[in-house]
């Protein structure tokens, strides 16, 4: 049994109680993914599994046998920041930075959902193509809290990234 983390296989834990979050941080020494509430309320532990954003704190690692996990450590290529990471810097999308890895992984998963046409709570027409307005971004990112209150910069960064991706 193994799990693929940022392209490299890793052994699954022997104790099924181990969350994916604890596997990443404690066993694999990948502390970029953060433990906030550890109960699914804050989004700090968000990672991508086969491209879908999930909460690693509520994920038992053994459930993810054979799956591909991407964490914040897996986004930069050849030492260059991922464009969304760069956008967070440009737009002051953080203060203390603790929620940032989760915000960035979440925003990447969010963009993929929008591309697949998944509507949101604020979508007026459930059948229309998704247009990521500010209201849509705020709703779709509501699972990631920032206790510093950097949400405006976060939305600015994500908005710019999505505009560039779409362009």
């Amino acid at each position: 049994m193994s799990i693929i983390i940022n392209g490299s296989p890793a052994a699954l834990p022997a104790d099924p109680r181990t969350s994916l979050l604890d596997l990443l941080r404690d066993t694999l020494s990948l502390p970029g993914t953060k433990k906030g509430c550890n109960q699914g309320a804050c989004g700090a532990c968000t990672v991508l599994v086969d491209g879908d954003r999930i909460l690693s704190c509520l994920a038992l690692a053994v459930q993810y046998d054979g799956r591909h996990v991407t964490t914040i450590e897996g986004l930069a290529e050849d030492g260059a920041l991922h464009p969304l990471q760069q956008a967070f810097v440009v737009h002051d999308g953080f203060q203390c930075g603790y929620c940032t890895p989760g915000q960035i992984c979440s925003a990447i998963g969010m963009a993929a959902e929008a591309k697949r046409g998944i509507p949101s709570h604020v979508s007026e027409d459930l059948s229309a193509d998704v247009v990521l307005t500010r209201a849509e971004l705020q709703e779709r990112m509501s699972g990631n809290l920032c206790r510093c209150g950097a949400h405006n910069g976060i939305i600015d960064a994500i908005s710019e990234y999505n505009t560039e991706v779409a362009a």
Partner: protein
């Protein structure tokens, strides 16, 4: 978290065999509720049978409805084109719940069986709870009970069912397909969840070893004219104080047919049978909607902190029906 054994089921029969093999086994879906409950030691199964890899298909039925596999993720169901176009109240209910990350993980079966978010239920260290510890007492009844039930509560339990999806399924006359050692059977969705009575430790009528394998939506000609409205303390990522799922068929200024269900008000998703009966054949006016809401809420009983829910439910019912009637209805 207490130690447990983990096994992945190959199919439904395997899952049922594994979970009935002895001990206190539980089925595991996406884990978004159960893992948290286990971490808080509210749930203490000695083994988990992972059914999250079983049926994740959505298929058309011969009678024009949809059969939804229990392992379909919430995002996949809400985003399915047939659901968005034919059952928009279901898409909207799911999209109103939790966060995108949780909806990506959570399964349909797990959503149906998620447990109450009563804070006393979770507080293993400091609170009495008959649902968590039968016979212990209930600290919610005389405690902070703003989020609790106004309908069908008992002296033993005033908890509410937290699911948004279940409110839509109750309105849609869904059927639950169950597999057990005894074979396969179906049960009406509105018969699945229980009133608490003297045994609030049981949320549903399911017996140990009963596995939900699918949910079936019947064809409903007017379900495209439907919606879900959720009223909560913040605009996103919060449980409902009150919610309304409704589908409405208005012809010539009268209500020809309607489906109506409420969330946040009771121990189970609340199908508003009385309001529906009052509405059928009535003029499509705000007065009719108010009368129907009054009929449904006549038996509502507030606790110390949640009396506002009665008026909130009344106003939300009227607002949703008015919206659905659109220009075919008549403002009163």
């Amino acid at each position: 978290m207490n130690p447990f054994r983990y096994a992945r089921a190959d199919d439904a029969a395997d899952a049922v065999a594994l979970v009935t093999a002895g001990g206190t086994a539980a089925f595991l879906g996406g884990g978004t509720n159960l893992v948290d409950l286990m971490r808080e030691t509210v749930a203490r199964p000695d083994s988990l049978v992972d059914v999250s890899g079983l049926s994740d298909e959505i298929t058309e039925t011969d009678t024009g409805g949809l059969l939804i596999g229990a392992a379909v993720r919430n995002t996949a169901l809400a985003g399915h084109l047939a659901v968005r176009t034919r059952y928009p109240l279901l898409s909207r209910a799911i999209l109103g719940g939790a966060s995108a990350q949780i909806r990506n993980m959570a399964t349909v079966g797990g959503n149906i069986l998620q447990r109450t978010r009563c804070t006393y239920f979770y507080d293993t260290a400091g609170s009495r709870c008959n649902k968590r510890d039968p016979g212990a007492g209930c600290d919610a009844i005389d405690g902070f009970n703003r989020i609790h039930a106004i309908l069908d509560a008992s002296p033993e339990c005033v908890a509410t069912n937290p699911s948004d999806m279940c409110v839509a399924l109750a309105a849609l006359d869904a059927t639950v397909h169950i597999r057990s050692l005894g074979g396969a059977r179906t049960i009406a969705f509105t018969d699945l969840h229980r009133t608490p009575g003297e045994t609030p430790e049981y949320d549903t009528v399911l017996e140990p070893g009963d596995l939900i394998v699918a949910v079936e939506l019947p064809a409903l000609p007017f379900s495209a004219q439907s919606t879900y409205r959720k009223v909560r303390d913040r605009a996103s990522y919060a449980f409902a104080l009150v919610s309304v799922a409704a589908a409405l068929d208005v012809q010539d200024g009268r209500v020809r047919d309607v489906r109506l269900a409420l969330g946040g008000v009771a121990h189970r998703p609340w199908r508003a049978w009385k309001a529906e009966a009052a509405l059928r054949g009535a003029p499509a006016t705000a007065q009719s909607y108010r009368d129907a809401a009054d009929a449904e809420l006549a038996d509502a009983r507030p606790l110390s902190d949640n009396g506002f829910k009665i008026e909130l439910a009344r106003r939300t019912i009227v607002a949703v029906l008015t919206e659905l009637a659109g220009p075919d209805g008549e403002a009163a």
